[in-house]
Symmetry: C5
Subunit: 351 residues, 5 copies
Amino acid sequence: MAISTPQNAHPTSITTYLYDATSCEAVDGLASGAPGQFRWIDVCGLKDDVRIADLATDLGLSGLSVAELFHLDQRAQTDVDGDLVLTVLRMPVSSQPFVADQISLVLGPDFVLTLREQPRDCLDAVRKRLAGGKGRIRSSSGYLFYAICDAIIDSYFPVLEAQGDLIEAMEERILRDPEDGAMRDTHQIKRDLSILRHAIWPMREALAALQRDDMPQISDPLLPYLRDCSDHAFQLLDMVEVFRETAQGLVELQLSSLSNRMNAHMKVLTMIATIFIPMTFIAGVYGMNFDRASPYNLPELGWRFGYLFALALMAAAAATMLFFFWRLGWIFGRSDEDRRGSGSATDPSRH
Amino acid sequence: MAISTPQNAHPTSITTYLYDATSCEAVDGLASGAPGQFRWIDVCGLKDDVRIADLATDLGLSGLSVAELFHLDQRAQTDVDGDLVLTVLRMPVSSQPFVADQISLVLGPDFVLTLREQPRDCLDAVRKRLAGGKGRIRSSSGYLFYAICDAIIDSYFPVLEAQGDLIEAMEERILRDPEDGAMRDTHQIKRDLSILRHAIWPMREALAALQRDDMPQISDPLLPYLRDCSDHAFQLLDMVEVFRETAQGLVELQLSSLSNRMNAHMKVLTMIATIFIPMTFIAGVYGMNFDRASPYNLPELGWRFGYLFALALMAAAAATMLFFFWRLGWIFGRSDEDRRGSGSATDPSRH
Amino acid sequence: MAISTPQNAHPTSITTYLYDATSCEAVDGLASGAPGQFRWIDVCGLKDDVRIADLATDLGLSGLSVAELFHLDQRAQTDVDGDLVLTVLRMPVSSQPFVADQISLVLGPDFVLTLREQPRDCLDAVRKRLAGGKGRIRSSSGYLFYAICDAIIDSYFPVLEAQGDLIEAMEERILRDPEDGAMRDTHQIKRDLSILRHAIWPMREALAALQRDDMPQISDPLLPYLRDCSDHAFQLLDMVEVFRETAQGLVELQLSSLSNRMNAHMKVLTMIATIFIPMTFIAGVYGMNFDRASPYNLPELGWRFGYLFALALMAAAAATMLFFFWRLGWIFGRSDEDRRGSGSATDPSRH
Amino acid sequence: MAISTPQNAHPTSITTYLYDATSCEAVDGLASGAPGQFRWIDVCGLKDDVRIADLATDLGLSGLSVAELFHLDQRAQTDVDGDLVLTVLRMPVSSQPFVADQISLVLGPDFVLTLREQPRDCLDAVRKRLAGGKGRIRSSSGYLFYAICDAIIDSYFPVLEAQGDLIEAMEERILRDPEDGAMRDTHQIKRDLSILRHAIWPMREALAALQRDDMPQISDPLLPYLRDCSDHAFQLLDMVEVFRETAQGLVELQLSSLSNRMNAHMKVLTMIATIFIPMTFIAGVYGMNFDRASPYNLPELGWRFGYLFALALMAAAAATMLFFFWRLGWIFGRSDEDRRGSGSATDPSRH
Amino acid sequence: MAISTPQNAHPTSITTYLYDATSCEAVDGLASGAPGQFRWIDVCGLKDDVRIADLATDLGLSGLSVAELFHLDQRAQTDVDGDLVLTVLRMPVSSQPFVADQISLVLGPDFVLTLREQPRDCLDAVRKRLAGGKGRIRSSSGYLFYAICDAIIDSYFPVLEAQGDLIEAMEERILRDPEDGAMRDTHQIKRDLSILRHAIWPMREALAALQRDDMPQISDPLLPYLRDCSDHAFQLLDMVEVFRETAQGLVELQLSSLSNRMNAHMKVLTMIATIFIPMTFIAGVYGMNFDRASPYNLPELGWRFGYLFALALMAAAAATMLFFFWRLGWIFGRSDEDRRGSGSATDPSRH
């Protein structure tokens, strides 16, 4: 498998951290440490592919593994290559939209190699702890390897919390105004969560592979730490699942909010229209021009209280409609028990 | 891994229960028992981190385990640390919204350590049984460890029953009035159930881990008890699943209730409007002012029974509409069989 | 674990069936058989807890198992307790709503103990077969144990068939009248199926546990029979799954039926309203009272055939609308092919 | 377990096919072959239960297996009974509605027994190949057993293809006219697919059981053939899954088609009504009968061009509405970009 | 199993590539290489079935495997046949609609046989690499076998990317105009993704089967390469899952867009209708023809400012409606907080 350097790769820059229990020194470029010292070779930018390939080959990577270092769209995974362990992870660099960069880690007996294409990363806290030298971080290459994995996994928590906040805000927004373009944003959240899930899942597998029995490159004291890191990945997946279910609930919330809203419109229209339509009809009847010479034609028009009669007729029509709406429970909060008892007999809308 | 004490931690208070088959004594602060006595060291509040860390280290916990005691957002899990077993569980403290506190348990050959941040807990029944001394609770540290796990798991049952009651009430409410804000509450129930499920699931795993073959710290006579406790966790998960499915059904119930409600509005509007619209049109026609000098202009207006003719025309229009609605089965409960037989030929709405 | 007798427990009654290959005798109360005889001790009602606990202890049950006998809300399960096998199952006693009673079975070398709280059970057929003595039922305690399990599992088939009939009836009902309260009943069916599924699933596991290799209490010749019983449980689960999917389909059927129904209402309203609205407008125009002294004001009113002209105008408006509806394919079944070819150019509702 | 012959069972008819590598002879009734000959005993109809039970017992089946032969509603499964293998499968006999008959196969060292209740089956092709003698079909009883299984599995392909055609036709129908009763048919398809899936799944398991290591009755050379048969079952399940997902899509397609259709109705109603309502109002105003003696009462009625003024007013109202609809993008295909830029400021329906 | 050549099979053409580390030669027809040379026998078109069967038998395939070569609708799978490995894969040849051709690969110690029915394939890059001789491709038959599998798997990436672009375009389209026929296209995308998933899934299994321990035909150095190929299949499945979830989201997006759109129509209709209906009613009242001889009949008509009074009445009715809509928050963006505080008391549509 030939090396295929990505187009427009960033210029390669290498920083070597030489450390042992008592000291830690950051050197620009590649450097060999004193015996007993561990090295973290931190490579960023894949442009100088020959230099990187040489370095990787010197460290003991096989041709296939070297070629894989240059593939930037790999699934998170752990491979064993002789004495070395090659783990590919993805670290989030942006939350909305969710973007994650690939980072390759190679663990050797006395070194850790990290390789990424973009200058940005989430490892500054690890660098500080290495410089500060507190805790066990300087005790072996394996522990540094764990610390880097842990920092990457933990960098997903803020991303998920941002998604959680977004979901909460969306819920408010949907309940306030379901017509407000929330659909597109909910769809976007769901897609981001779907991508997040498929990003974290293989990382969990890659971490689990590190803890299997057939992995002599990982020393036993490291196992509880890696297990802790796996637990964090599980926790991330739990969160993603809860968020996915909540986001799916948002879609249903929106559909029923829209339906509710439409119901409100419909009820207003129905009530106004059905109250006025019969009244307007009555007005229309007494606006007809039949020849009143015939005593049978519109005699009401000649009545002394004809107008009041017409108005009373209209009022009666409106009252009938209002009574009808009250029977249906649409107005004045008629209790449900009443409706159940009598509704079926008198309610034409229930047939 | 350094210890990171939570901000605003509660002040640390320690109670030691010294017990053996014949006696049980609760002592404020840390205490050592006589030989043959078991100890339950019940720590509450993480503020005094140095004291807690010293205590934990004295009991034999490794640095990583000690650090984990101070992480309050861990996934439920069981870890082995030398002779000790470290189990992290969550106990519910509020049902709506669902809130659960973390509690860490450490089982040693002759002690149980429990550690929680909040003063509230669900272990008073265990304390009473320990004081009362009935049954096997004073027989070993393992049995006390089981009793605490069991009390924690069992404290989920009231939470789930409250959710069940809520779902039942919501169902009534949706059927009575689907527009009533039930959407938000249903959404909330679904989210709580989703969180509950992801809280109980890892506890089931943590309990299962205690029963595995490679766990010499758990004595064989304890296994049936732990299995019983696991069964309760399974039962909780069964309940959560049934509730989740029922809550999902509530969403569908609501959507179809809203749809049903809108149908009712629409039918009323359609019937009133379509009955009166033709009648109003007829009234409008006879309200036109065409010059009746021409015999072809509105001759009906001059008829002796013109008004009655117009009223009859209106009645006929209304009757036609009513007949039509009866054909469609909207009114007077026309039987379905009739409709099927003849509907397709005469029913314009079925095209 | 202390014994907690359920409140309001039924009075305890014990029946002992003493049987061997040649005879079977039912004795009220507890009885010991002759050597070589098997016993079925059938206990009903948990009130006399001391007597039951003594009996169970005499038969060889441990304290935990004895305590479990008194828990009436256990998950179906199989536990091994020394020489004995303790299986908890649930037998259905009502189909709508679905209710199931717990029954505990203890299998010993020469006895079967069954324990239930309610007098009702589904084991009369087993009692008859035992009295009749046909087949292998009297050959061992294990075979009787299997026969009881089988009778319990098989008593779920009528329950599921009732659910199936209900689903079929519901389907008819929804298609006939989707507004008819079918929602609530469909929701109820779905919940019952969800509960049924979570009742049968652990019984399948309990039966599977009986067939595992590490179960010397179950003799090899019994295994094919238990496998047959497991197959029935699988068949039940298959049925439940098919019913669950069908019931979910009912919800969708209902939503689309309601939508369909509303479409029909809407189409009627739209057609009647849009046909008459322009006609009524024309009538309104010729009902205006402009001073006809000016020759420009409503000259049509003075025309000899003005009325006919107005009626023709109205007819033309109605015809235009009808043509328009025919173009849209709403009336007179205009073929789809025509609509596709020309619709986009002339159909304003398709933008 | 006693034999329970199904009610109204078909009369029993037995055909024996005696075959070896060089010859094949079909004999009515039961027959014994020469040494070295294989037998296919093809039993149809369960009425003569004693004869069948005797035959099965002679062939070496145990009592439980013999009893199982008479149960016609078994789940597909494979059981081992001494030297014999008993496999129960279901063969489809009708596609819509989907109906499948049970067929029991018993494989012995030198015979295959098939047993079914209905005369119809799907094995004519196997009979022809056996008569023709091409290929390996006469080489052993195992190969014939495989050939029968394969014929049964393959007879599901036409059933699934019919379902696939139905789904395709339904899709066309829904898009052409979603109100057309397609709901019921889609629901029926989904149910048939659900039943098909639960019919094929246990057959896959039954075939897998034949390939397990602990099955000495199946000779090694037969394994690739059975694996091929299993692959077909997998392929069937893949097809069922694709169809199920497509059918679920049909439901959604229908709901959105109905919604789309209703939108079209609504838009027509809204446009016609909102254009004419203001015009009709203007006509109504000038139809009022105020006493024109007062110069403030309806002076427009006396204007020389009052009628034209009123018509112009109406035209302006209609034009306003049309402009408004054009702004909303409902007519004349106003581009989306325009709408976005200006819509929010002037569009009252977007609040 | 007899060979069944597909109808209308393409004419058979065979190309043999003879290669070793230093040379590669493509020969028309079948050719034997020098010792130490590897062969890729590339067969296309199944018409000449006898020639293909002879070739396959010569290479060592069993009868069943030879017969399988002629089945063009197989599930992707890996079978072992003596020294040979037979893998069936499917390579995509069209993206919309998705179409995939079957390709059979046989790996022998010194040859690879590929067999396909259609002339088109996706292996030109492999041919070029073989001709160019760079990398390890000429080092063994196994490596070539891997290279072909890898090329086939990788040819799915452009297909999936096309689906991804389609989904993105569909999303834009639905948000712009949900009534636009997007339903059918979304349904089509979902079906294609469903088919894609069921095409890739068995390929993943076929590749996994190649890496199992019991596969001596695959040399150890090949394993990391095959693992890499498997990883790509996993990545494809991840992509398909994300796309499937997104496509499902599109359906919901569409339903809520349609609902939103209908809401907009409904609101316009409701507002225009409810504003004008009372105004038109007032005009109708003053258009009545009561005999004004009676002082009680329509006295307003005789008022000096009667017309202005009527207009004021109309304006008041319209203002009331507008105020009411403002209360409901339908116009002028009344803030949600106001509505909540006062809405329930005065808002009749909220009952």
